[in-house]
Amino acid sequence: MSDTPKLIIGWFSFTCSEDSLILLTELLNQHFDEWKKVIEFRHLKALKSNNKIEGLDVAFVEGSISSPTQAAELQKIRDNCKYLVAIGACACTGQPSSSRNTFDPNDINYKTAYYLKNFDYSQEVKKLADFVKVDDEVNGCPMNTELFIATVSKYLKLLNIV
């Protein structure tokens, strides 16, 4: 195990298409060897089973919040990280996952009504900043990769990793 300090990050996904997560996996095509030296992926369920939420330097969070359960999970992430970065349009603005906020309750079909009634959906889908403090945003659908790389670099410097 190397003693070299690393930026400890987590990646979390709520309601969205996970396109930004996919872009992250594509960024690894060029950055895997470089980032592995300076970043500890402490929570990244797409790539590993042994995930921990505690002691994160930066939590990258994509997706909007659809339920009280998700809101509680988001608060737990906030409590366990120094900085929280909203990733992608759903996390930053709520859209397009929040499309259902505009549905006319008198004009929804039985299938939509079934799921809204039988699972713990909130009245409205909301962006992350409606629940917790967000330190940075990387907007876009999917996220703007140049801005994401710049944000990673920013925190690598801020936390004296490089």
Partner: protein, 433 residues
């Protein structure tokens, strides 16, 4: 075996939020639930009342990894509502776009999610930094393979995820043919890396055999992800427009997604690469067939783990098909076909990376969406996955819990499920009494 409660909060390396609960009483599996947990976004409802032109780029947001599949399926669906028949050139460019998707998407699943299972480690992050290590070699192969798939889609469709150029009636901008020779070279370069991966995944020792039925598109002319009739291993063959009649929807009260069985036999079935190879292997590109004889002899197969090998083979199919198209296509300037809006009904069916994808649309005379519906592959596989897991647990209760958990994850992962269609954790709970 003991009475125990086990919970795994994070079965990982899949695309989607799902759960698994297994209840064991007196050494028998009395209940097993495979639960899709992603919160729905109701996009099919959200497009109602919108002009048809807005639908494909919006509905492609259903999924990050296979957005191209939803985009092209939606375009096909809308074109059929409007009576638009795309040109031969457009069909070839869509095939190239799609080949890039399959190359990237399959490589992501195989090398980032499944490869650790093959190597007996948890994560690609644990692969040693040693160029002589097979895992290191395969992982770095995957970077080249995924990058090439991305580049192919980007030069044809503008981007690998949420591509902006494919449109109703054609392409908003045609690719620059000057980029084709370089693209062909890159595709040729990764062939040997892909074959190395095929050999590696063919050696995966795991086995789970159950008598599933298989369903996929079938094109008698060539191996095709975008066009054909729908066929199953029982020999039934129907046109795309009849696809919905073929299926019976099943409400699964603990899951955020409905499941599907065949409407006639009421049996479960499997969609995806394994189904495509089982039903279409003789239609593969001649070069692919020639180079993969020893691996193709494995198919048809009832081993669900061979879905991984089938995906690896499809990567080479898409490379060889793309080389053929890029070598022979002679682009002519053409704009997307545009007609006055009309009322209509359309059905689109494509083979998404993880199986048959269905879109349905109705438009009014102004071209506004009256009704839209989507059936994704993972919903169709849901009951099959559950039944495979039941079989596995029933036959392996003598194994320790760590082994049961690991193998349950591997079975689910072999399907390459996509719950949003995609997210990433599966909670597993085993209750023994």
């Amino acid at each position: 075996m003991h009475n125990t409660d086990i919970t795994i909060d994070s079965i990982t390396k899949i695309e989607g939020t799902a759960g698994l609960t297994v209840k064991i009483v007196d050494d028998k599996v009395v209940d097993l639930k495979f639960i899709i947990k992603d919160y729905r976004r109701f996009y099919a409802k959200a497009v109602e009342g919108k002009p048809y032109v807005a639908v494909p780029p919006f509905i492609s947001r259903i999924c990050g990894t296979c957005s191209i599949a939803h985009l092209l399926c939606s375009i096909e669906t809308i074109e059929k509502t409007q009576g638009i028949t795309p040109s031969e050139q457009t069909r070839l460019l869509r095939r190239l776009t799609y080949n890039g998707l399959i190359i990237r998407d399959h490589a992501l699943h195989l090398y980032f999610f499944v490869l650790p299972d093959l190597l007996g480690i948890d994560s690609i992050l644990d692969i040693p930094d040693d160029e002589n290590n097979l895992g290191h070699q395969l992982l770095h192969d995957s970077f080249d393979i995924k990058e090439t798939g991305n580049e192919l889609t980007t030069i044809i469709a503008g981007a690998a995820i949420h591509a902006p150029l494919p449109s109703i009636g054609g392409f908003l901008k045609l690719p620059d043919p000057a980029s084709f020779p370089s693209m062909i070279k890159k595709l040729e370069k990764i062939r040997s890396q892909v074959i190395r991966g095929i050999d590696a995944f063919s050696k995966m020792p795991d086995k789970l055999i159950r008598n599933s039925d298989y369903l996929s598109l079938k094109n008698d002319d060539h191996f095709d992800f975008l066009e054909g009739d729908i066929t199953n291993s029982s020999g039934n063959k129907i046109v795309e427009e009849k696809f919905r009649d073929f299926l019976h929807s099943v409400v699964i009260p603990y899951s955020q997604s409905e499941g599907y069985i065949f409407s006639d036999t009421k049996q479960d079935y499997l969609v995806g690469s394994l189904a495509r190879l089982n039903l279409n292997k003789d239609s593969l590109n001649p070069r692919t067939q020639n180079d993969l004889k020893q691996y193709l002899s494995i198919f048809p197969s009832n081993n669900v783990y061979h879905n991984n090998l089938a995906q690896a083979i499809e990567i080479l199919q898409c490379i060889d098909d793309s080389i053929d198209i890029l070598t022979s296509i002679d682009l002519v300037e053409e704009k997307p076909i545009s007609l006055l809006p009309r009322a209509g009904v359309g059905v689109g069916v494509v083979e998404a990376p993880r199986g048959t994808l269905y879109h349905y649309a109705e438009t009014d005379y102004k071209g506004m969406i009256v009704k839209y519906d989507v059936i994704v592959p993972t919903s169709q596989n849901q009951i099959n996955i559950e039944n495979d897991l039941k079989k596995y647990f029933e036959e392996n209760l003598d194994k320790d819990e760590a082994t049961l958990k690991l193998n349950a994850e591997k079975i689910i992962r072999a399907y390459d499920p996509c719950m949003s269609c995609a997210t990433n954790f599966l909670k597993m709970k085993i209750i023994r009494k």
